[in-house]
């Protein structure tokens, strides 16, 4: 994949570039601020943009806001947001279109998991950090979902397939499928294609949690 990396920390950026290179990806540009990121995407049309949330000029959430604008201009550009700590403000809106990942920066140290997440996002899937999902899916006492269904949905929100969820929870894949059906039913999501439904389930759940 042709990857564009936007991060103002040179040390981290170089490590990331080397890591992506070793993973077989071509880094087409290394940029240090949000404006350069917007221009770089227009110019180079990469297959994936890896974006630091906190970047110049304001050093708050410029990266995340730039990602939002990129999503408007290029709905199909896969993006992987990286952050030093959990922020949830922008993820809910961005996760909707697919091709979106949000990881804490130290996840890159689990190189294989990270490269897998990069691949998944590049292919139009999603990858959400367990901590981010945890922050979004705080355990609601009056939830319509059972504890097991919550666990399943949390893993789905991270971007895992049914098989992967089954492996992690030591369940049969059919059991996971039945949990998913139950979740779709409880959340009132119509049958409109498997991938779309999964994203909608995650969104409905995240959106629901945001309000209560």
């Amino acid at each position: 994949m042709r990857v564009l990396v936007a991060d103002d920390s040179v040390l981290f950026r170089e490590g990331l570039v080397r890591l992506l290179g070793e993973g077989g990806h071509e880094v087409v540009a290394q940029l240090g601020d949000a404006d350069a990121l917007l221009d770089g995407v227009e110019e180079l049309r990469p297959d994936l943009a890896v974006i630091d949330v906190r970047m110049p000029p304001t050093m708050t959430d410029d990266g995340a806001r730039a990602a939002g604008r990129l999503r408007e201009r290029h709905p199909h550009l896969p993006m992987m947001l990286l952050s030093q700590h959990v922020e949830t403000r922008h993820s809910v809106a961005l996760v909707a279109g697919g091709g979106f990942g949000y990881l804490l920066k130290d996840r890159v140290l689990r190189v294989d998991d990270f490269l897998e997440a990069v691949r998944r996002v590049g292919a139009g899937g999603s990858a959400l950090d367990p901590d981010v999902v945890g922050a979004l899916l705080a355990r609601p006492a009056l939830s319509v979902l059972t504890g097991r269904e919550n666990e399943v949905l949390a893993l789905v929100a991270e971007g895992h397939s049914n098989a992967s969820v089954a492996g992690r929870l030591h369940l049969a894949e059919r059991t996971v499928e039945s949990h998913m059906r139950s979740i779709f039913g409880k959340l009132g999501i119509a049958d409109t294609g498997e991938h779309h439904r999964r994203v909608l389930a995650v969104l409905a759940f995240l959106g629901n949690r945001r309000v209560t």
Binding site: M59, V108, G134
Partner: protein, 640 residues
């Protein structure tokens, strides 16, 4: 080189001059006519003419001075005409009385009416020009026309005319004359009724002076009908019109309210009464002494002694009595003020109401009680000129000023009196102001400290994330790169090393979270949801996204964290309910559990924090019935 003089300036200057100078010129012409007549022989002796002219000169000069002082006010010229018109009239009468005097002889019989011209004009324009509106402009022209009509009637009603013509002319003359005088009176009355207090006081002086004029004129007519010579009969009228009226006008316009008639009257009356009563006491004692057969010298001495004893209290009582009768306003005013002061002393009235009470009592809605702000080295007069203010002092300290909305000598005296009377509530109000200011400053500085701490924590948190944490990740990545090139045994070692780095990063993240919960950036709902995410017991979370300042949100977060931790640790609660609700003006937080209750913990660590953002904290914890912590914060958006 001479500076060119602007044509416009000159014409503007001369444009107003003729109006002011016309009566002076008329007076000079009239005086010259009279003196010439006296020199020619037939008239009064030259000395009498000079005296008359001297008297007439008084209003002319006063009017000219007034005109110079207030050039836009027609009262000056009108006053001048009071003297100038008779000067001209007398000259015309003198010369017109001579046989064969031509046009003057025709005008002379009725010319007397112009004696009143200045007086009528004065009534129409006093104290600040003609009344507004076309009606009053027409009325002014009509009074002028009335003069012409009366004068013409006089010219017709010569001795040789037939009786009906004489009677008709007389009726016409008196009717028109009455109409003109009525108009003048109507103007005065209208002004008095519509005018403010100052206008009324000014008019009062004019009425005082002018009221004598018609009375004395009538007296003159009566005296003349009893055969007195005109010179004697009209002397009083002329003196009143020429001296009393100008004096009243000058006093009213320039120094109205200076002599404060009420008080002069009141004091004179009370001394008069005291004197009379003392004399009566004296006489009574002497009489009683005489009746008892005492030595007359002893009687007189005793009487003097008794009178001296009685004098002081007698005068005080009489002053009060006379004051109640003559200056009832003042009596009522002081009584109301004293009642208010008593109420303040008894804690029944708030000293902050002093300004309102003074406004009502002094009947001055524009009055302001300006207290010196604590720490200020002078009193802020809010733009009032010093002559409108009364300084208030307590010992050597400037307490403030009483600024009046309407000013006159009488109002200043009354306000001074009131300020002395209301000393206590004024002083209390000032002290309260000081106290309130000090408290405000304390809570502001507490909030500033909290905000400074919050900013400091945020910076620390960022430094941790963007500095140390980032570097450790970078090192880890290098190790991972290195890992690809080393032997499997070394690779396992590196795995352990990187895992240790990951643990360090997690530790740093927890540390940063403790310094400042970064999820607060995403809003209170997100942060609180994350806070209870790992709860072992069910948590009912109802957090509205109420706009709140960083300081307020942080304080609420720590409050909920503390209350939640207590519910878990001490209360043995089975479930917890956390609710945040409200609007930008008022934020309400409630953390309730179903635990054992009886909590003694007062949450001291968060109580100060909540107080610093202007909030209140309540803990209800009846034994066996759970614990509820309620916090309310006003103006949560700004935190001030």
């Amino acid at each position: 080189m001479r500076a060119p003089v602007g044509r416009g300036t000159i014409s503007a200057m001369v444009a107003r001059r003729p109006v002011r100078m016309a009566p002076v010129a008329a007076f000079v012409a009239g005086a010259a006519g009279q003196l010439a007549y006296s020199f020619a022989g037939p008239g009064d002796p030259i000395a009498l003419t000079a005296v008359v002219l001297g008297v007439l000169a008084v209003p002319v000069v006063l009017g000219a001075l007034l005109g110079a002082r207030t050039p836009h006010n027609p009262v000056g010229p009108a006053l001048s005409w009071v003297g100038a018109a008779p000067a001209v009239v007398f000259a015309v009468e003198n010369w017109g009385a001579r046989p064969g005097s031509g046009p003057l002889g025709v005008v002379a019989p009725g010319v007397w009416v112009w004696n009143l011209a200045g007086f009528v004009a004065l009534c129409l324009v006093f104290p600040d020009g003609l009344l507004p509106g076309a009606r009053w402009r027409r009325a002014a022209w009509l009074t002028g026309a009335a003069g012409v009509v009366v004068n013409a009637a006089g010219a017709v009603a010569v001795d040789t005319a037939p009786a009906p013509v004489l009677a008709g002319a007389a009726a016409l003359a008196f009717g028109t004359c009455l109409a003109a005088l009525g108009t003048a009176v109507a103007a005065l009355v209208r002004r008095y009724r519509r005018g403010g207090e100052v206008t009324r006081q000014q008019l009062r002086w004019l009425v005082l002076g002018a009221g004598t004029v018609p009375v004395l004129l009538a007296a003159g007519w009566v005296a003349q009908s009893f055969g007195a010579s005109p010179a004697v009969a009209y002397t009083g009228f002329l003196l009143a019109m020429l001296l009393a009226v100008p004096a009243a006008v000058i006093v009213a316009v320039l120094w109205y309210d200076l002599f404060d008639v009420d008080r002069l009257l009141g004091e004179s009356l009370s001394w008069l009464a005291t004197t009379v009563l003392s004399a009566a006491v004296f006489a009574g004692v002497v009489a009683v002494g005489g009746a008892l057969g005492a030595d007359s010298r002893l009687g007189v001495t005793g009487a003097a002694f008794v009178t001296a004893l009685a004098l002081q209290p007698l005068h005080r009582r009489l002053s009060e009595l006379v004051g109640r009768l003559v200056d009832r306003d003042r009596y009522v005013r002081l009584a109301r003020l004293r009642a208010f002061v008593r109420a303040v002393r008894d804690g029944e009235a708030a000293p902050e109401r002093t300004e309102t009470v003074l406004r009502t009592v002094l009947d001055d809605p524009g009055l302001r009680l300006l207290l010196r702000a604590p720490g200020a080295d002078h009193v802020e007069r809010s733009g009032r000129p010093p002559e409108h203010t009364i300084p208030l002092r307590s010992g050597d300290a400037d307490v403030g000023v009483l600024a009046l909305g309407t000013v006159s000598a009488r109002r200043l005296r009354r306000a001074r009196e009131a300020a002395v009377e209301a000393r206590l509530p004024i002083e209390v109000a000032r002290l309260q102001l000081q106290l309130r200011d000090a408290l405000r400053e304390v809570s502001a500085s507490r909030l500033r400290l909290l905000e400074a701490t919050a900013a400091e924590r945020r910076k620390l948190e960022r430094d941790l994330h963007d500095g140390a944490q980032q570097r450790i990740v970078a090192v880890g990545m290098r190790l991972r790169s290195l890992q690809r090139t080393v032997a499997p045994a070394a690779s396992r070692e590196l795995d352990v090393a990187v895992e240790s780095l990951e643990a360090t990063i997690a530790e740093l993240r927890r540390l940063a979270q403790g310094i400042r919960p970064s999820l607060l950036d995403d809003g209170l709902p997100v942060a609180l949801r994350a806070l209870v995410a790992d709860s072992p017991i069910p948590v009912e979370l109802a957090v509205a996204d109420v706009p709140a300042s960083d300081a307020v949100a942080t304080s609420v977060y720590y409050l909920v964290a503390e209350a939640f931790a207590n519910a878990l640790k001490h209360a043995g609660a089975g479930r917890v309910r956390i609710a945040v609700s409200g609007d930008p003006d008022r934020l309400r937080v409630e953390v309730a559990d179903d635990g054992v209750g009886g909590a003694t913990a007062d949450l001291p660590s968060v109580r100060d924090r909540i107080a610093a953002v202007g909030g209140t904290l309540e803990v209800h914890s009846p034994p066996g019935d759970g614990t509820t912590v309620i916090v309310e914060i006003a103006r949560a958006r700004t935190g001030r």
